[in-house]
């Protein structure tokens, strides 16, 4: 161990270190979003809240999602007229090793996680001038969540996109069909476990490897 303080590894577990870093970079929510958080917390005690970089994320169980969206739309203090965006992030299951980098202070750590898909709803209020994110975590096998179309009709195309590219089923959606990919396409390309093809080139049977295996 060197005397250089930058090279010394602190005596904490990887997860604690991550929590420390996250706490140090998180900015306190401004008063407006804190009021939004308190308002939702009062009506939906099962929701969890997190703030990062000044953004509010409301994590909701799937069964209260439609009620929560309806509340956000109709409540006069929230009055979220716009469902701006619906998107998903896939976190596949298994053991993942994160390569730490000395220059950034991020440690190397291994996490084992169950596969999940986070479906994210961006709600924006024009009259109150705030926005926040509603997150629903689903198991990535047979992911299904109630559709938001009865509350916001903009969810129609947005949910179809998430279904097409991530494979999340939105129960009660009026027309859950593929949107971008051909109708007979197999798989959902934006999932992390979607196999990527390489490219064959006309030189002694060589191939260009798929992007996930390239070394650049």
């Amino acid at each position: 161990m060197t005397d250089n303080p930058r090279m010394q590894v602190p005596d904490v577990t990887a997860q604690e270190r991550i929590n420390q870093i996250e706490a140090s970079v998180a900015i306190q929510l401004d008063g407006k979003l804190a009021a939004v958080r308190d308002r939702i917390a009062g009506a939906f005690p099962s929701c969890e809240f997190s703030g990062f970089r000044g953004e509010l994320t409301v994590t909701a169980p799937p069964d209260v999602l439609v009620d929560l969206l309806t509340f956000c739309k109709t409540d006069p203090d929230l009055s979220c007229e716009l469902l701006s965006d619906v998107t998903g992030v896939h976190w596949p299951g298994g053991v993942h090793e994160h390569q730490g980098q000395e220059t950034t202070g991020w440690p190397t750590y291994t996490i084992e996680q169950a596969g999940r898909i986070d479906v994210l709803y961006i709600l924006r209020s024009v009259s109150r001038n705030h926005w926040f994110r509603v997150k629903v975590s689903l198991p990535d096998e047979h992911a299904a969540v109630p559709s938001a179309v009865p509350v916001y009709r903009s969810a129609n195309v947005l949910e179809r996109e998430v279904f097409d590219l991530m494979g999340v089923r939105f129960e009660g959606h009026p027309r859950l069909e593929r949107l971008f990919m051909p109708e007979d396409w197999e798989g959902h390309p934006l999932r992390k476990d979607y196999p990527l093809g390489g490219v064959e080139v006309q030189y002694k049977g060589a191939t260009v490897p798929p992007p996930s295996e390239r070394q650049y």
Binding site: S84, V89, H98, T104, R153, S154, V157, F180, M181
Partner: protein
């Protein structure tokens, strides 16, 4: 019951004809309700791009309109996950190809927020971003007006619109080296400072555009055919706009003064003096007027930004994020500055290593998600960026306003005539590159 149906009924009363091979009496029976399904597009000169509309028609009247998209889907969001953060700019710029600088800006704002350097971006870079994006808004609106004119048969409007746009693309080429798909705005600032003579040239173009816009205004605003084709067509109320997630000029044409430049300002754009143009009719003609007004407001912003363009660097001071070299124009095009090359090749081994690591691996972005929205020419354009703490994005999603607006076409088209569908779609100004991504 429409008039056409009545006429068809009368035809059915005509004495029957029996034709060898088919009993033609069956035809009027079969089309008793006069419904037919027609494919419009995808290769249609008036559908505003590679857009296919499946129309259910009763004569000329549209009962239902289902857009079919995906013809330009190129998997940009997936591609981004296998490239370093900086290279992502070259991908997102190709989404909405009429507003490339807005795509870059939304992506870079989100990455900067994750990096925690939003307040470190130099003022000069912020001002250049404002100038470039507002010029881009003008060029995008000009194309919107030009293609609308072409689709409604006003070819001269198209010629004038594209001609005026070319002056702005010349400025873009002057600054970034490319007319479109610039990859000019990068996380931390902009890639290169504006060249000498930029200010004077831009002022000349603004003065020219002011007179040319007057010509476009004279040509169209009081034109009886233009009014006939646009006025009262495709009306959307504010409630409908909210329900379908519509933002931008279409929402403002319905009377809602919602503009992210005012409510959630970025790059200090709220410090400039400009108005949010609104209208109350909510029809195609109102959208045309709003776009014309926004061009004028954008020119105002550019003039103010040129007046007080601050000096200083155009990239963050953090050497672990900033591109190591200032770019310079050499005999073979834009490249690393000569002084930088001679330093890393001849004087400093550490500088060479640093350059190599940053250019090949890029920088690392802390874990987390960020959603950054800008007011693009079509509405709320936002990047939802997720990082898992590596040198590549874990997931990038762009919320493109064109895509959300396409979802409102069924509501917009119901009850219109086929010819009015063209005006209605054109007034939404969707760009299919942004819709399909």
């Amino acid at each position: 019951m429409s008039e056409i149906t009545e006429q068809r009924r009368d035809l059915a009363a005509v004495p029957e004809f029996t034709v060898v091979g088919a009993d033609w009496q069956e035809l009027p029976d079969a089309v008793e309700d006069d419904e037919m399904i027609i494919n419009m597009g995808p290769q249609h000169p008036s559908t505003h791009g590679v857009l296919r509309l499946v129309l259910r028609l009763d004569g000329e009247e549209v009962l239902d309109c289902q857009p079919v998209i995906g013809y330009l889907h190129t998997g940009i969001e997936k591609n981004l996950e296998y490239r370093p953060w900086t290279q992502g700019v070259t991908f997102v710029t190709r989404m909405d190809y009429l507003a490339p600088l807005f795509n870059e800006l939304a992506y870079c704002l989100a990455v900067e927020r994750l990096l925690g350097i939003s307040d470190q971006v130099p003022e000069r870079a912020q001002a250049i971003r404002v100038i470039m994006t507002e010029l881009n808004r003008v060029s995008s609106h000009l194309v919107g007006l030009a293609t609308t004119g072409m689709e409604l048969g006003a070819i001269s409007a198209m010629l004038y619109g594209f001609r005026e746009r070319e002056y702005i693309l010349d400025i873009f080429e002057f600054v970034t080296g490319l007319r479109m798909n610039h990859a000019y705005i990068r996380p931390g600032g902009v890639v290169v400072d504006v060249p000498d003579g930029f200010e004077q040239r831009t002022r000349e173009v603004i003065a020219l555009l002011r007179t040319r816009l007057g010509e476009l205004h004279d040509l169209l605003t009081q034109n009886p055919i233009w009014i006939e084709r646009n006025s009262g067509i495709g009306v959307l109320t504010p409630e409908q706009c909210f329900d379908y997630g519509i933002t931008g000029p279409v929402l403002r044409s319905a009377g809602v003064a919602h503009d992210l430049r005012k409510t959630q300002p970025y790059c200090g754009i709220d410090s400039y003096d400009f108005d949010v143009v609104t209208h109350t009719d909510g029809d195609c003609y109102a959208r045309y007027l709003v776009r014309l007004g926004e061009i004028e407001q954008s020119l105002r912003i550019v003039e103010q930004a040129l007046d007080r363009l601050p000096g200083g660097p155009v990239m963050v001071a953090d050497k672990k994020i900033a591109w190591p070299a200032q770019l310079a124009l050499g005999p073979d095009g834009l490249g690393n500055a000569k002084e930088h090359i001679s330093k890393i090749m001849g004087q400093s081994m550490e500088a060479l290593i640093h350059h190599f690591k940053l250019v090949t691996e890029g920088f690392v972005v802390p874990q987390g998600s960020a959603y950054a929205a800008v007011e693009s020419p079509r509405g709320e354009l936002a990047a939802h960026v997720t990082s898992d703490g590596t040198n590549k994005p874990y997931r990038v999603h762009l919320r493109d306003p064109s895509f959300v607006h396409i979802g409102a076409l069924p509501a917009l088209a119901g009850g219109l005539y086929v010819a009015d569908i063209i005006a209605a779609v054109a007034s939404m100004d969707p760009v299919m590159g942004g819709v399909d991504r």
